[in-house]
Amino acid sequence: MNVVVLIKQVPDTTNVRIDRKTNNLVREGVPSVINPDCMHALELAAQLKEKHNATVYVITMGPPQAINALKDAISFGLDEAVLLSDRAFAGADTLATTYTLYKGIKKIEEKIGKIDIVLAGRQAADGDTGQVGPGVATRLGYSLAAYVTSIEKIEKDEIILTRRLDRGYEKVRVKIPCVLTVTPELNEPRYASLPNLIRSLRYQPIVWNKDDINADPKKAGFFGSPTRVVNTNIPPARKGGDIISKNESPEIAAQKLLDELKKFESIRLIEGLRVLVGDKK
């Protein structure tokens, strides 16, 4: 069984930096971690390695410093890690991102044979679109199950799993080859064992540029992106009002609150508060 895990390195802080020229995120110089959802994909991959003897490759598209995320990922006891890095990949929206990842997966396939399962996180903490998993599945022509919460059974050509939708959970049979996007409900990521930790420190990820994966520069990065971020702004913080009651008796506090609420026109929209404004309905 051959497995590829897609991981993304994301900024650790809420410190957002944007390049005003391209209006893109500047990742260099900001402390980074593996995207939280991806940790659960890595854990699942480690389990597939243990239980199904899977060969697992981890892949990310990003700047050179994303090497660190790959080294951390290797500490899950996985086989190899690949960084897709090239100027031509920068400024990608999800369509261009999935193109580059697709080309990277195809290149891995040349080395180890047909990829059975591709794992991704449900969504990234920064870009937060949740579109990369569905996009990669579509490009590969694989089946897709997004939002996986538990896995019942993995067989040679199918997986029985449960996934989360808005209206509830859904148990499905998914044909292999497939792409799964996973949620935090699925598992608890492990702590690395000492040997795996040591290996990850020494490990040097494979680095591929656009020529290595035979990527068409018109389809990757900024030029391959149909969307343009035309403007970004940080919304003003909400300004609060006053503390109207401090450690008074509950009755007084409650009365003050109701009196205060009367000053807001919008409470007329609330059935249960119409009594306050003398509306008898």
Partner: protein
């Protein structure tokens, strides 16, 4: 005619409310885009009532792809149909609700069509000079608003967050046309097959409640939420919770508000025993009125609350409930 497509998400015979919100918004966009019309896309069978309602909610045309195989949402079949009808009718704009299903489906469709897709939008406008759709979305957990356009590829696609746009009240006199699309689904590999649908054991109405009474770590246990529930019921609202309360196992995660929970914008939000962490506040900051009840006058929640009460929620919340009950009793007399 420029077509604005709206995907009508449907469970059994009923449309998801976000579909009507999108039709309301599409109507407004159509008013600002010359020679345009709003098309509702309905997949399934026995959807005649949904089609009718779509017209009363603002659609000029309803494209009804009637097929037995489309009764349930199965991602690869829905993708195939949507890709084919987009290729046939060439809409300018295609809007899909940003539910979990919608985001999965839109991601597949946009990739196959090789067009742009903006995720989870909270604002949509037409730029009059360029006739382009400007799509605004929160990123970084609501800390950064980004406006995105798709200048050259068509359709311009967006998923739109439920509960943000305003639906139009149904107008039974509105005129529109239902086009029943003859469509047979080609033989395909069975990529995914639904074995069982497991409905949620609790179903919260958080996203649409006009009042949310929420509790955090300060509530102290599952019983504490009963007091909040009583006030919420009296106000015709719903209860909510911080992640700390959910993690403590006091309440189901269906009720969690915030970055990793639901984003809500009720008229009135009452935060009881919630400190006001940034990840919580991003989920409530669009509320009309925020009330905070907390024993610690330095809690950050007071920085965003319109009305602050320093006090013990276990005493203050029941006092509010009984005051309101008394007032209602008087009115009835």
């Amino acid at each position: 005619m420029r077509k604005i497509f709206v995907f009508v998400e449907r469970v059994d015979g009923e449309a998801h409310p976000v579909s009507w919100e999108l039709l309301g918004k599409a109507r407004e966009l159509a008013n600002n885009l010359e020679e345009s019309e709003v098309w509702a896309i309905v997949l399934g069978k026995e959807c005649e009532n949904v089609c009718k309602e779509a017209i009363s909610r603002g659609a000029d045309k309803v494209l009804y792809v009637k097929n037995d195989q489309l009764v349930e949402y199965v991602n690869y079949k829905y993708k195939k149909v949507l890709v084919d009808i987009v290729r046939k009718y060439e809409p300018e704009i295609f809007l899909i609700g940003a539910t979990l299903e919608g985001r999965e489906l839109a991601g597949m469709v946009a990739t196959e069509l090789e067009t742009g897709l903006t995720a989870d939008c909270t604002g949509l406008d037409i730029l009059p000079d360029k006739k382009l759709l400007a799509m605004t979305r929160p990123t970084f957990g609501g800390n950064l608003m980004a406006t995105i356009m798709c200048p050259e590829h068509r359709p311009q696609m967006a998923t739109v967050r439920p509960g943000v746009m305003r639906e139009l009240p149904p107008d039974p006199n509105r005129k529109g046309e239902v086009i029943v699309e003859e469509y047979s689904i080609p033989e395909m590999e069975k990529f995914i097959e639904i074995l069982e649908a497991v409905p949620l054991s609790v179903k919260s109405n958080l996203a649409y409640a006009p009042v949310v009474v929420a509790g955090g770590k300060g509530v102290g246990g599952p019983e504490g939420f009963e007091k909040l529930r009583e006030l919420a019921n009296l106000l015709g609202g719903e209860i909510g919770a911080s992640r700390a309360a959910v993690k403590a196992g006091w309440i189901s995660d269906e009720y969690q508000v915030g970055q990793t929970g639901k984003t809500i914008h009720p008229v009135l939000y009452i935060a009881c025993g919630i400190s006001g962490a940034i990840q919580h506040v991003v989920g409530i900051k669009e509320s009309e009125i925020i009330v905070a009840i907390n024993t610690d006058e330095n809690a950050p929640i007071f920085d965003v609350a319109d009305i602050g009460i320093v006090g013990d929620l276990h005493a203050v919340v029941p006092a509010i409930t009984s005051k309101l009950k008394a007032m209602k009793g008087e009115v009835r007399k």
